[in-house]
């Protein structure tokens, strides 16, 4: 097993990860999150009324930000190919509908997705590192990552070791992310915090910083396999983290991916509102905000049709893949 030396990811915070104790000191020195206050802020933002042009823009933006996902044991190449077709042309009857940001699949289906999406600009994202539990030895996780990247994944969605995190072994979590990042090479790394298992917002904030310090390009809420998955206040706290990291760190902007549980256009728009009013308009791009979803896409398409034609549509008019 190769020992991976911690690598200072951010110049201004270089010393933070120099030892377990300095890492702990830093993470526990972050301001606390008051649960009620955070949830109340998210709820208030959720009351924003997005109408007309603003809604149209938001629907298209949300489509562009989707990581169209299938992560089932029953996945097949055929299912993935169908999903890729949907990713490229979400609504075959309407060429003005943009493509989604990426397809997100298990590592063994990366090749299929890559072939289907080649040259399209739609990325291939692969979960890795013994997704979703993360309970495997580091070399196994790294091999998982390298294999996916070698097969053509543009983005790797790793899971952190929640057991290590919850028991306070921050250095271990940090080192693992650093190692995975290195294994990614040029692929973008999304670090899944699995916030449903972290339980408290304080933990969400600490895990966000840990992932950013270790070099993650994105922080992501959930695997989708644990309830609760993404929630508005969790994403609020993560957006506060990336916003602050851009100020305190070297200016690097980290992306946020909300994954799981976002099924309606209305929900998606609420997330965009939280993005805009927390991190700012700069984050309203697929480079910095993603929504991991499957069924959401069809609702966005339905709402988009309604918004453009004034007529309510129905599920039979949109493809099921």
């Amino acid at each position: 097993m190769t020992q991976v030396a911690p690598r200072p990811a951010v110049s201004g915070l270089a010393d933070v990860a120099s030892s377990e104790s300095s890492l702990r000191q830093f993470l526990h020195g972050l301001p606390g999150v008051d649960q009620v206050g955070a949830e109340s802020r998210a709820a208030t933002l959720g009351t924003r009324s997005i109408k007309k042009d603003a809604k149209l823009w938001a629907l298209d933006a949300a489509i562009r930000m989707i990581d169209l996902t299938t992560l089932e044991g029953a996945d097949t190449p055929g299912k993935v190919r169908a999903l890729c077709a949907k990713a490229l042309r979400p609504d075959p009857t309407d060429p003005t509908v943009p493509s989604v940001a990426a397809i997100c699949v298990y590592p063994d289906l990366v090749t299929t997705a890559r072939d289907a999406l080649r040259g399209s600009g739609v990325h291939v994202a692969s979960v890795a590192t013994a997704f979703p539990s993360g309970r495997a030895a580091l070399p196994v996780k790294l091999a998982d990552v390298r294999s996916a990247v070698a097969d053509g994944a543009d983005e790797i969605d790793m899971v952190i070791d929640r057991g290590a995190f919850l028991s306070g072994r921050y250095q271990r979590v940090y080192d693992e992310i650093v190692a995975v990042k290195e294994a990614c090479g040029s692929a973008h790394l999304k670090v899944i915090l699995e916030t449903g298992e972290l339980v408290t917002y304080d933990n969400v904030r600490r895990a966000s910083w840990l992932a950013m310090l270790a070099g993650g390009d994105f922080i992501k809420t959930s695997t989708g396999k644990v309830a609760p998955a993404s929630t508005l206040p969790v994403v609020l706290v993560m957006l506060e983290a990336v916003r602050d990291f851009a100020v305190i760190g070297d200016g690097r902007r980290i992306g946020v991916k909300a994954a799981g549980g976002i099924r309606t256009a209305k929900d998606a728009i609420k997330y965009l509102v939280v993005v805009k009013e927390t991190a700012g308009d700069e984050w309203l791009t697929p480079d910095l905000f993603r929504i991991g979803a499957s069924t959401l896409l069809n609702d966005l398409l339905m709402q988009r049709t309604k918004q453009r034609t004034g007529v309510y549509s129905g599920p039979d008019y949109f493809t099921l893949d």
Partner: protein, 477 residues
């Protein structure tokens, strides 16, 4: 790419404004006998909304007489359980007509529809629902088995939360068996007049609630009326003192809910993002037209810069404009007089050497507006740190130790509310114990609930509104 929210105005069609309103006395509308009329305007547009009657002394007399008769013949003798059902009815009708009330409140007051819809109106209905339940349980309120009402209550309320203050006043008064003559503020009479219609729909017996409109003179003659048993006032400390002098030597029971200059104290271990929200909610909620507003930010020196950076960034996201737009955070200042006062005190802040900051913010051409404003470099002696501004103006001061924070927070003739932000539980309780204020919000701010007693120490007034404590002011105990 910036994403601009499209205009999302709430429709005002739901409100049917009359061109003129009479006085609501003894269950009926009547023109003033010896009064006059005045206009109420939308402060966001300066549009005249309606003409409203100004009650003269004889009108006050008619209203008090109606209340007295209703007290003696109907409401006083009625069993509490029956009174309760009328009050429950009112709560329900208010909920049914909540959108209409919210739109009307926003039109007349200038506050954002988001607040009137999500705060003012639901809370007002909740106060009626809460106190309705007390009407047949007064024997459990701690004042003996069968506490008696006082009689006729004269109630004068301010313009900052017109309907909510009406609810704070009328709900406990009726629950205890009193009848009411209420005078809403001159600039915001419309929701009270709509409330009169709600009383009619509830078939509340005539004279139990009387609504008379007018300015200060009407209020003064109501408070001074010889056949009034109870005076309840919310408003300025100056007027509160005048009322206290007026009732001296009488048997009138008085509750006063007056001004404030609350300290919102942020320690270095505070949950910072929520503290920023609390500061914003503390001073920019309702344009700062809040007696318990957190108008003095006391921030621990070690985090002052970091907190201010966050606060300024947050202020830049506040949306000022059309109060009826569902995405508006900051509405209009209620009147030109109030705007002049805010300007005067802010100018005094400049003159005394404090540094003024506001986010980039385009003010509408029509109406009365003031941008959210922060003054830094403020010292305890500055006028903006001592006088109630009643506007969206925050004075920022620093402290080093908890003792210093308490001394500065308490160093005011007011004592209505205070805020404390820290993650340390024992410090919260120590601070709560030391602060001379009627309401202490710890890690939150500007929360209200019908079960929760509200009211001040010192020159912020006396008596409590809300909760079991709120009954005492309307019982002969």
């Amino acid at each position: 790419m910036t994403w601009e929210y499209a205009a999302a105005p709430e429709s005002r069609d739901i409100v049917a404004l009359r061109s003129s309103y009479g006085l609501f006395i003894n269950g009926e509308w009547s023109d003033p006998v010896d009064g006059d009329a005045f206009k109420t305007v939308n402060p966001a547009t300066e549009e005249v909304l309606a003409e409203v009657s100004s009650a003269g002394e004889r009108d006050v007399d008619r209203a008090v007489a109606a209340a007295r008769a209703a007290y003696t013949k109907v409401w006083g003798p009625m069993p509490g359980a029956e009174r309760a059902k009328y009050i429950f009815r009112i709560a329900r009708i208010m909920a049914e007509r909540s959108r209409e009330l919210a739109v009307l409140e926003t039109l007349d007051n200038g506050k954002p529809i988001r607040e009137s819809r999500d705060v003012d109106v639901p809370l007002a209905a909740a106060y009626f629902f809460y106190y309705a339940g007390w009407a047949d349980k007064l024997g459990y309120a701690g004042h003996g088995a069968d506490p008696l009402p006082l009689g006729v209550a004269a109630q004068v309320i301010p313009w900052n939360f017109p309907l909510l203050m009406l609810a704070w006043k009328i709900a406990p008064a009726l629950a205890c068996g009193n009848t009411v003559v209420l005078k809403p503020a001159e600039t915001t009479p419309l929701t009270a007049l709509l409330f009169a219609e709600i009383c009619q729909q509830a078939q509340l017996p005539p004279g139990v609630v009387n609504i008379i409109t007018g300015a200060g003179a009407t209020g003064a003659s109501l408070v001074g009326h010889g056949d009034v048993d109870k005076v309840a006032f919310t408003g300025s400390t100056e007027v509160g003192k005048a009322i206290a002098r007026t009732v001296a030597g009488t048997r009138k029971k008085v509750t006063l809910e007056l001004g404030g200059k609350a300290a919102n104290i942020v320690f270095d271990d505070a949950p910072l993002d929520e503290a920023v929200e609390g500061i914003v909610n503390g001073i920019f909620f309702n344009q700062g037209h809040v007696c318990c507003a957190g108008s003095r930010l006391l921030v621990q020196e070690s985090i002052a810069d970091a907190l201010l950076d966050r606060l300024k960034r947050r202020l830049a996201t506040l949306r000022l404009g059309d109060p009826l737009d569902k995405n508006t955070d900051i509405g209009a200042i209620n009147s030109p007089e109030q705007l002049a006062r805010i300007r005067e005190l802010s100018d005094a802040g400049d003159a005394e050497g404090a540094e003024r900051w506001s986010p980039e913010c385009v003010l509408p051409a029509q109406g009365y507006w003031f941008p959210p404003t922060i003054f830094t470099g403020v010292s305890q002696s500055h006028r903006i740190a001592r006088e109630e501004i009643f506007g969206p103006v925050l004075s920022v001061l620093t402290f080093r130790t908890p003792q210093e924070a308490v001394e500065k927070a308490n160093n005011t003739p007011y004592g209505l509310s205070a805020g404390v932000w820290t993650d340390k539980g024992s410090r919260i309780l120590w601070m709560a114990d030391q602060l001379r204020a009627g309401v202490v919000w710890a890690n939150t701010f500007n929360r209200f609930d019908p079960t929760s007693p509200f009211g001040g120490f010192k020159e912020s007034g006396f008596g409590r509104e809300g909760g079991r404590h709120g009954l005492e002011g309307y019982l002969d105990v």
